[in-house]
């Protein structure tokens, strides 16, 4: 490997691990990435929405989440050409209009649209909603494509990736643990929040941006992917049970989809999955340091949004130390 920067082992090739690996490699570190699963993104990242939505997240997340994610969209756009910057749209079924008011009170950087403006942005939603909130400055990306791009980038930068391995062999200046919920044994504060999602294929409906469908209990979002595919997520259950998606979850997700547009009734369900989000008590991701061991964990719902900021923190620690 070229360069003479510090040698770093990163454990876990989910979004936190890959973003950290690329960030460190770009600053001259010699990076080795170990993943215990059979592919990159073997954990929660694979099932993420990939919404780069700092303003929408402010509805339920503390202010620091928004603050630390303001540069996130720029980071992703500069690393992944597939990032789409079309903003995001928030709607509510007629009976849950108060939820839209509440969402508006808790967030900023949006404009309120009437039915005509909604139809202009998303012709397929014409006549379906009288009111929506439009967050123009947000974006989204397909997590699976994004992780693949980071992998390519890391290899170009001279990094090494080993799958199916959790042993630490060899000497490294630093070890960074990005293993998510698998680190629970060593991190008593970490808990799992189960999330369930589905992918459907529906050539009859075209959306250009993620749509959040407000609901008093769980916020459901529908994110357009390539080739007529839509991702619908995600439940939030205080549990680290990794069993398959439940009937309850699937009906809630499908109901939201159908409420958004009845044409989804004919959509083909191509995937249904459940993942466990690693979460700290305040649901905010953190970097911890213990000597030359660092950890980036507790990504909760914010893996894609906050990994760039947390990776920068890791890089600052390592390179301040090395200087």
């Amino acid at each position: 490997m070229a360069g003479s920067g510090p040698t770093i082992l990163i454990q876990g090739a989910g979004v936190a691990g890959l973003v950290t690996a690329v960030t460190l490699a770009e600053r001259g570190a010699r990076v080795t990435l170990h993943e215990s699963g059979p592919r990159i993104g073997s954990g929660a990242s694979w099932f993420a929405g990939g919404m780069l939505a700092p303003w929408c997240e402010a509805e339920a997340a503390p202010e620091e989440v928004t603050r630390d994610s303001l540069n996130s969209l720029a980071w992703w756009a500069s690393h992944v050409p597939d990032v789409i910057r079309n903003g995001s749209l928030v709607v509510a079924p007629p009976r849950d209009q108060v939820e839209l008011n509440r969402f508006g009170r808790r967030t900023s950087h949006f404009e309120t649209l009437g039915s005509e403006a909604i139809a202009e942005l998303e012709p397929d939603l014409a006549g379906r909603f009288d009111r929506a909130l439009f967050f123009a400055e947000e974006g989204h990306v397909d997590p699976r494509i994004a992780l693949g791009r980071l992998k390519e980038r890391l290899l170009i930068l001279g990094g090494h990736i080993r799958l199916d391995t959790s042993v630490v062999d060899g000497q490294f200046d630093w070890v960074v643990d990005c293993t998510g919920i698998q680190a629970r044994e060593s991190e008593p504060d970490l808990r799992g929040v189960r999330g369930e999602m589905i992918l459907v294929r529906c050539p009859d409906v075209v959306l250009h941006r993620p749509v959040r469908m407000l609901h008093p209990r769980i916020p459901i979002y529908i994110v357009p992917r390539e080739h007529g595919v839509f991702m619908v997520g995600a439940t939030m259950v205080e549990s680290d049970d990794g069993r398959e998606i439940t009937v309850r979850a699937m009906s809630e997700l499908l109901n939201a989809l159908y409420t958004l547009h009845p044409a989804f009734a004919e959509a083909e369900i191509i995937e249904a999955n459940a993942g466990i989000r690693p979460s700290y008590p305040d649901n905010v991701p953190r970097v911890h340091r213990d000597g030359h061991r660092l950890s980036v964990n507790g990504m909760y719902r914010h893996g894609f949004l906050l990994s760039p900021a947390r990776a920068a923190e890791v890089a600052d620690i390592i390179f301040t130390q090395a200087a």
């Binding site: 997340a61 008093p216 209990r217 259950v237 205080e238 549990s239 008590p281 649901n283």
Partner: protein, 257 residues
């Protein structure tokens, strides 16, 4: 309030669902100082280990835990969930909820009475979530319940006390039974009214969890409980149809309007 021989330190019961994070829930418990916290098992019922981390956190509040059967629609589901709750939380308290109607989350009072009978026989101390119906109250007491939990309004609706007449009648018919207003309370003013009507406690969740500042709202509810209870002991005046001057009218020119 005293229920099943145990005095609660506060008449505020606080639900633990819907908070944006466990840290915010913990702050709300700290500032609301509830006499009990309720926790749901149903959604995490895949296995006894599954919700461990969250339940551990709830146990850590050092506040009596009232597990509930939220989300159950049949007698069997409710009974099984109660049995599981006894194992997880090592308590025989159970807030019994059997939902009969999806839109209003209205209790199925028939299944409720049946489930209450079974659970009381099994030694549970049952807190039944009910409508304000007198006959249902009578049946629940006959089934062995020593506490009643009438709704104020549908769960999560925040509409306050929908049927003041019905709640007054219920209170008047069973003056000795501890009663908790469960569901529908949206604002501290609703809570004050509940105590003024003579109810012994309130159970809230959404009103705190979905407030902009949940911890502050928890404290507001704690103060509202104090206000309502104090007002009740002070024997509030009755309403009248006509004005009554607060200054003496004697000596004025005329009594005529």
């Amino acid at each position: 309030m005293r229920a099943y021989g145990i005095d609660l330190s506060s008449p505020l019961m606080l639900g633990t669902a819907l908070y944006d994070s466990p840290a915010i829930l913990a702050d709300s418990v700290r500032r609301g100082r509830p006499g009990a916290v309720t926790v749901s098992l149903r959604r995490e019922s895949a296995g006894l280990q599954a919700g461990q981390a969250f339940w551990e956190l709830v146990r850590g509040f050092d506040v009596p835990v009232l597990p509930n059967t939220a989300g159950c629609h049949t007698v069997r589901e409710a009974v099984t969930t109660a049995q599981m709750a006894r194992e997880v939380f090592e308590t025989d308290w159970i807030k019994l909820e059997v939902i009969g109607q999806g839109d209003l989350l209205q209790p199925d009072v028939f299944a409720l009475v049946e489930a209450a009978r079974i659970l009381n026989e099994e030694g549970f101390k049952v807190f039944p979530y009910m409508t304000e119906d007198l006959v249902v109250a009578e049946r629940l007491l006959r089934a062995g319940c020593e506490v009643l939990m009438p709704w104020g309004a549908p769960i999560g609706s925040g509409r306050g006390l929908n049927n003041l007449f019905g709640l007054r009648a219920l209170r008047a018919h069973f003056p000795e039974v501890p009663m908790v207003i469960d569901a529908g309370i949206g604002r501290p003013s609703h809570a004050v009214t509940a105590f003024e009507l003579g109810f012994d406690a309130i159970l809230i969740n959404t009103a705190v969890a979905k407030a902009g500042d949940p911890a502050a709202m928890a404290e507001a509810f704690r103060l509202a409980c104090d206000v309502g209870q104090l007002a009740k002991t002070a024997d509030p005046m009755d309403e009248r149809d006509m004005a009554v001057p607060s200054t003496p009218t004697l000596g004025k020119a005329s009594f005529a309007s």
